[in-house]
């Protein structure tokens, strides 16, 4: 796919998430109106009022969840807008973790952002950086049978930026360590993405950590 194709996907996704948000906004108002009406209706004339109230509360919570998801997906679709950008790495990691949590949850693995409080700004392609990080996480998840934690910690040394993605836990599939890991789909994809980013990746000996290194354009 070339950049035009990617921008096309971004554009359509941005449009549809916008529309989805409108759907959620309507559900929220309509259930809100029902809540309003219930609050001025007395118990005697409305059997099971409490049941209705808790159910409406659940609708509101789910709407809230939907709004968060659509807004993060919308933000994701805008990654295709600009290929060279000043990126707040911490913010990018938070965004990534939010979007990939469900992939990790399937394996009962928790994702942790280990960013220290200091802000790390890097000028690079945000979409490809997300993709590289996602590949690292997927790779480690594929090595994992079940359970544990993947921590992501960024570090900046001059113009170079390092992100270590490390699995901690007992769930690593022992057999995978002896396999030729460089032939895995995730690592092949990671390799080409890193080339596009003018960076490299390293795998540690125990196969439980991937480190990516990229240079900031500025």
């Amino acid at each position: 796919m070339n950049e035009k194709d990617i921008k096309f996907i971004g554009k359509i996704t941005a449009g549809v998430t916008h529309e989805l948000n409108n759907v959620l906004a309507s559900i929220r108002e309509i259930s809100g109106l029902m809540t309003d009406i219930l609050s001025i209706t007395d118990e005697k004339s409305f059997p099971r009022k409490e049941k209705f109230q808790t159910s409406l509360g659940k609708i509101q919570n789910q709407v809230q969840r939907g709004v968060k998801l659509t807004s993060q997906l919308n933000k994701f679709s805008h990654l295709t807008d600009n290929y060279k950008n000043d990126i707040d790495l911490n913010e990018l990691l938070e965004h990534l973790i939010f979007l990939t949590e469900r992939f990790a949850r399937i394996k009962n693995v928790a994702l942790q952002n280990q960013s220290i409080n200091q802000t790390i700004t890097i000028n690079t392609d945000p979409l490809r950086l997300q993709m590289a990080l996602f590949n690292c996480i997927s790779y480690l998840l594929n090595q994992t049978v079940i359970g544990g934690e993947i921590s992501i910690s960024p570090e900046k040394k001059g113009k170079e930026c390092l992100v270590s993605i490390t699995y901690k836990g007992e769930g690593i599939n022992k057999l995978s360590i002896f396999k030729d890991s460089t032939s895995s789909d995730e690592l092949l994809s990671l390799k080409s993405t890193m080339e596009n980013l003018n960076g490299v990746y390293e795998l540690d000996a125990s196969n439980t950590a991937v480190i990516i290194k990229i240079q900031s354009n500025k």
Binding site: A14, T17, H18, N21, N22, L24, A25, S26, R28, E29, I30, G32, L33, D36, I37, I40, V63, V67, T70, S71, N74, K75
Partner: protein
């Protein structure tokens, strides 16, 4: 409590009509326009105190409606309500004189607070601006409004850092 007259402008019919009903339950006046042209016509017929305006609409877009309202009815405050807006949009809306810029869906109590604030400021700013304008101090009149906005920014930042 004073009854505020609100005009809601949004092409999402079910959303805007329900919102309108909820506002009326809170004992304010509320009317609905489904597009920019309709909104401007309603402004001519019956001037509201506050307009709640969607940014993205078919036909005349929200930014243009905002521009026209601020030009023709500078005393009417406009609250922009948008889906996934950008900082650029927010900047432009504020530059065009929008009172507030909120993301959809907004909690009704939050919206009502902003509406009341906009309503209050409509009187305060027009009274103060008139007083200072009489004295020839246009800049002071502008400053009063700007400092309000600054305070809002501070409050917003405080919320974020929580």
């Amino acid at each position: 409590m004073e009854k505020i007259k609100i005009l809601l402008v949004d092409d999402e019919k079910e959303f805007v009509e329900t919102l309108s009903e909820r506002i009326r339950m809170r004992e304010h006046d509320s009317d609905v326009a489904l597009n920019g042209e309709q909104a401007l016509k309603k402004m001519d017929d019956d001037l509201p105190d506050v307009v709640v305006l969607d940014l993205k609409m078919p036909g005349m877009d929200g930014m243009e409606v905002l521009r026209r309202i601020r030009k023709a009815y500078p005393k009417v405050q406009v609250i922009m309500l948008t889906g996934h807006g950008s900082e650029k949009d927010e900047e432009e809306a504020k530059k065009l004189g929008a009172f507030e810029y909120l993301e959809k869906p907004v909690e009704i109590e939050t919206l009502m607070k902003k509406v009341k604030k906009a309503y209050k400021s409509k009187f305060e700013s027009s009274m103060m601006a008139a007083t200072f304008a009489e004295a020839g101090e246009f800049d002071t009149a502008k400053e009063i409004r700007d400092s309000d906005e600054e305070q809002d920014e501070i409050n917003k930042d405080k919320k974020k850092s929580k």
